[in-house]
Amino acid sequence: MTDRPIRVLIAKPGLDGHDRGAKVLARALRDAGMEVIYTGLRQTPEQIVETGIQEDVDVIGLSILSGAHNHLFPRVMELLREKGAEDILVIGGGIIPEDDIPALKEAGIAEIFTPGTTTQAVIEYIKERAQQS
């Protein structure tokens, strides 16, 4: 298991055009030896889930700064379950209020990383969790 690269989809659902954070993280994961599939801005949950399945990723990272996370994140989880792909680890990042986090985790998002998180923290989290599966 150790010599296979972890595959991560970094996706931006919703309509905001702020992809700096997603790109910084994609680059950091690349430098940590992961294969990062980056799909660009304004992805629908359907596109994200379909891409995650075709690319057989271990992790889907959702980045959002538009405030629509309470709708879009659970929708991604719902579609993954419909497709029998709920084993893919889903994490989220962006400007997400503390108060929203419990409900998102309830919906199946494994972890939410808010502003100030180091890329190293995300790398360690992914490595630890991806090795368990």
């Binding site: 690269p5 690349r30 294969e35 599939i37 660009g40 379909e50 891409t51 057989d56 029998g84 792909a85």
Partner: protein, 318 residues
């Protein structure tokens, strides 16, 4: 249900998983690949190569969309470079193909080169096989952005498109050996940019000078992939080339050459694996020591390693 059975039943997850297995643990994928083999050979494999930023991904997306309108199903393998330092990669070709993501008639897979140098990933030909067995009519293989000599695609595809853009150099570039020689079809993309006409003219001139067998002269198409301009003509060009290959038996000749390469590669790997297995108990290290100490030369050491196969320790043909 095995992955192969899943794939034949149309299961996308099984398809994706077998591709992962072929990339990571190819030995474990052999029985599934064997089960799929009788279901392959129907897809047409189209290679797309060219320098970084030429518009290969956008072009593939547009060509795939056109073929979907014609009722064909499409598989896409998009290769991007793996970092030689960390083993990581950013696989970003899908950005240009977003609208195909939810089309059930299209399956896109991004691959890192993982150390291969010829513009493709090592597992590419097996991934083609898998998409072929899954019933895709056309399979596009997009190489990494290439320089002058990454030409593995020509050993992989039925038809090879070389995508160029204006501004890459003067006409001397067109008479150099390398990727310009492998094109069945030329596409000059970003044709709205200054100098595009000149690139077309230089390619035509290069083709005039060529004394390669004249049965097929690669057509040169101008496109603006972002606005879909010229795409229909390229699709027709691809179909025209395939038809040409069929008519004069070249499709079968090209494929047979690929089978030969593939079988020999498997043989090579198996021999290597078995010999290294035999020599793994420290014998190899001892040989290395002798070579380092100039007691033995590398040729003699290699012959000694091959002795279990050659028998006489002298190498050569059995």
């Amino acid at each position: 249900m095995t992955l192969a059975e899943g794939i034949l039943a149309g299961d996308q997850r099984a398809l994706a998983r077998l591709i992962t297995m072929v990339e990571n643990r190819p030995q474990e994928a052999i029985s599934d690949l064997q089960a799929l083999y009788p279901h392959t050979g129907k897809a047409l494999v189209v290679g797309i190569t060219g320098p970084p930023g030429a518009g290969k991904s956008t072009l593939v997306g547009r060509l795939a969309k056109k073929l979907r309108q014609l009722g064909k199903t499409v598989g896409i393998i998009a290769v991007d470079p793996t970092s030689p330092f960390t083993g990581g990669a950013i696989l970003g070709d899908r950005i240009r193909m977003q609208e195909l993501a939810t089309d059930p008639g299209v399956f896109i897979r991004s691959m890192g080169t993982r150390g291969s140098l010829g513009g493709l990933a090592k597992a590419t030909h097996n991934v083609i096989r898998i998409l072929d067995a899954a019933g895709k009519d056309y399979i596009f293989v997009e190489t990494v952005g290439v320089g002058q000599s990454e030409v593995d695609i020509v050993k992989t595809a039925d038809t090879t498109l070389v995508v160029l853009v204006p501004g890459l150099g003067d006409d001397i570039q067109t008479i150099k050996a390398g990727i310009l020689e492998i094109a069945d079809i030329f596409v000059v993309n970003k044709a709205d940019r200054q100098g595009a006409d000149r690139v077309v003219a230089e390619l035509e001139m290069m083709l005039d000078l060529s004394n390669r067998e004249a049965a097929w002269r690669p057509p040169v198409y101008s496109t603006i992939a972002t606005t879909n301009k010229g795409i229909d003509a390229v699709v027709e060009g691809i179909e025209g080339h395939i038809q040409h290959l069929r008519q004069n038996g070249q499709l079968e000749v090209r494929r047979r050459e690929r089978y030969r390469t593939e079988i020999m590669a498997i043989v090579e790997e198996e021999i290597k694996a078995r010999l290294l297995d035999l020599w793994s108990a420290g014998g190899l290290e001892q040989l290395l020591e002798k070579v380092a100490a100039r007691e033995k030369d590398p040729f003699a050491a290699a012959r000694e390693i091959l002795q279990p196969i050659t028998g006489n320790g002298k190498g050569g043909t059995p």
